[in-house]
Homo-oligomer: 504 residues x 2
Amino acid sequence: MGSIGSLTAQKLTSQFPQNTLEPEEFRRQGHLMIDFLADYYRKVENYPVRSQVSPGYLREILPESAPYNPESLETILQDVQTKIIPGITHWQSPNFFAYFPSSGSTAGFLGEMLSTGFNVVGFNWISSPAATELENVVTDWLGKMLQLPKSFLFSGGGGGVLQGTTCEAMLSTLVAARDKSLRQHGIESIGRLVVYCSDQTHCALQKAAKIAGINPKNIRSIRTSKSSTFQLCPKLLDSAISSDIQNGLIPLYLCVTIGTTSSTAVDPLAPLSQVGKKYELWVHVDAAYAGSACICPEFRHFLDGVENVNSFSLNAHKWFLTTLDCCCLWVTDPSALIKALSTNPEYLKNSATESNKVVDYKDWQIMLSRRFRALKLWFVLRSYGLGQLREFIRGHVEMAKYFEELVTKDQRFEVVVPRHFSMVCFRISLSTVISNGKKSEDVNEINRKLLESVNGSGQVFVSHALLGGVYVIRFAIGATLTYYRHINAAWKVVQDHAGVVLER
Amino acid sequence: MGSIGSLTAQKLTSQFPQNTLEPEEFRRQGHLMIDFLADYYRKVENYPVRSQVSPGYLREILPESAPYNPESLETILQDVQTKIIPGITHWQSPNFFAYFPSSGSTAGFLGEMLSTGFNVVGFNWISSPAATELENVVTDWLGKMLQLPKSFLFSGGGGGVLQGTTCEAMLSTLVAARDKSLRQHGIESIGRLVVYCSDQTHCALQKAAKIAGINPKNIRSIRTSKSSTFQLCPKLLDSAISSDIQNGLIPLYLCVTIGTTSSTAVDPLAPLSQVGKKYELWVHVDAAYAGSACICPEFRHFLDGVENVNSFSLNAHKWFLTTLDCCCLWVTDPSALIKALSTNPEYLKNSATESNKVVDYKDWQIMLSRRFRALKLWFVLRSYGLGQLREFIRGHVEMAKYFEELVTKDQRFEVVVPRHFSMVCFRISLSTVISNGKKSEDVNEINRKLLESVNGSGQVFVSHALLGGVYVIRFAIGATLTYYRHINAAWKVVQDHAGVVLER
């Protein structure tokens, strides 16, 4: 062993001067980063909430190639401060009211840190049993908090999985439904499968359907209107399906939305699920944003009818204090997912899988490799508990009511659709536009200018939607650091900019 | 404003006693977690590397429901120590030699922390310009380190994107290729599209093809053999394609692997890419594990021919110090991806997108929402630099050579296939089995027992593959904390268990 012995003596490590995971250096740098982030949260409300940089700003100030020699954390953090932060749109700013929130929390952050620290690749049970089993436990916990029927829980023959985003949840369930149907109708019938949704359904569904090979002509986006507050109408759905059947097509999948992106409209789940049952559709409920609210008894009625659907998803990374990404998906029939998504290569075979006593989550989702997402949800559920999580949701809903009052008291504005949760859709009203000597057809353009003007100030970030042709400003409350003073200040900004826009 | 004023005064925050992102509490708890993880890395080699728990262990020791009241971080961390860690298979342990590594590093961890802290949802440019632009920059940086042709860089009309896993990269490119072909041949021709790979290609390809609606009968898994070291043969490929064309099918997509999962075989890219060109296939190169090695000049020749392919991916979360997940995908024609994967709902419209001066990465991948993954890769590239990253790779390759020597010196064992990178495939040889009075047909079973015995000890974790019917033990070096002493100890464990297994 001569040569080998001397090799061992010389090269104790494979690595350059210091191991890149040396614990004491990890500790030192980790503490630096925690302080950097704590300071960031302290300062975040002072930054322009929507980044004010121009396209290409970063390439101009960064080198053309990676360095050959190492750089210190201190140098890199200085660049984060001076070069990256100006290009960040600050989702954690209390002045962020755009899109839907990504409400961070200390518990969610810590759970993610721990998951990153373990850095396990939990594709199947044996690759880290705790990653799978904790996911079984927390999806059951959250399912119970939402009062999902037992059929969605592991204890009731169904089960939950933590995926990346709603897009993945839709694609997984759609492929499960598709393959179930193709087993019945033959593989060549893929061109006849039809997917149903409303014109308010999130675009992720169209994307998922296209990825799954559904003919784009067979995506029925059923029209909604202001008179029915942009809900999907069960009668229209029923007649669309029966007309498709008459035309030789095969109804496959229905997506029902609880809290649409444009206006937080709530599709009537109970009657829609009955239509789904009648035609044996796979019914998926997308409650990406509003699902979180359903842990409060006063919102739970929106889920009535969920006992008749096949799958249900919500994004804990939106309004549930769990950092991106964490889409919670529950299904009543895991075997449908598994049949469509399983792989069983020799190099992953193991006795636990063969015992049939374990869940291998790689077969419940699009991706094979997967992060240990259950930790962050577990941290959130335990650190805050059901009681405080309800108060968190209710606090934002109260804030939204308060904002709605503010809008209503200023007669230049109107609230365009009923508010259900923590988002208010408003605009400068048509009568205000006319009384300010503008043309009525300019009302959308004037509101668009108001939005641009507000966002351009960097003081507030809001986004927009078109509802039945009406341009509305969406004011979505949910950033964790938002206090009432931010709502007041935001409204003052909107009022001031409206004054300027109307005077132009 | 009376009632509103008093409301404001009373309820400064929406939240229960303390805001869940209050900076000083974040700081306190963050420091606790850093210390917890630094201590974990200090102790990790003492834990059984493959978890020794039984199915269902966790449900038995956790409550049936989430708590109503908050619990402290200290309580939760105690449970992590006593209930979660026993169920972890420790991928960061220096004794982990299974699958392919997930090599963590302080820099990768810190980049992930920062991304989690910002918690931006970077679906398009405006949602956080820095997230998009840094991704443009670092994928160009890494592309240059790999000497990818300019056509894969943003500066050359192509570009890179950081996705979750190889499965997503394969699915994205496959859907791009599929839609390109369907535009030419008509949507109803989906059933005639054919995907080519070898029997060594990662199962992610089969999965991606099924998800994309490719007829499972049209996935050509071309046979490889030991005599050609499990490489995909260009001649066999060519004749499979021409026979498909004769049968009225449409050749679509070829996956070439640089470093297969079972044995790190390297498909001959140059001649295969010529076959791809001849038949106008979309050629994708999957270099999930071995791609990282190609930043070293001595390994770069494995990529010769890449100038003729459409897309190339590697997982920085495998052997490149970047925590899960971070699959780097480069394409020469981003518009093909965008045509297949773009969505353009009103609520995401913005002037930056309309200016056509920015990248909206939601149109380059399956998911819409996306994490700020570029930060961690940027941290890794800068913290270590090209020079040390090469040394990191070479260190593991040297270790694997050393391990190979150890195996070769013990005449009971044999190395089954040539070693290219940092993995050695070995087994107890047939002659050893026979000379120990066993039947020759038991050779696979004996090696399987050896693997079970070694893994059951908790001292080492290795995995296996079947290569042309031969059961081999895969010894994959790449855990960041692995030193030569761990290789020596691991080999001693294998030797001892082999002795016992052979004596039984």
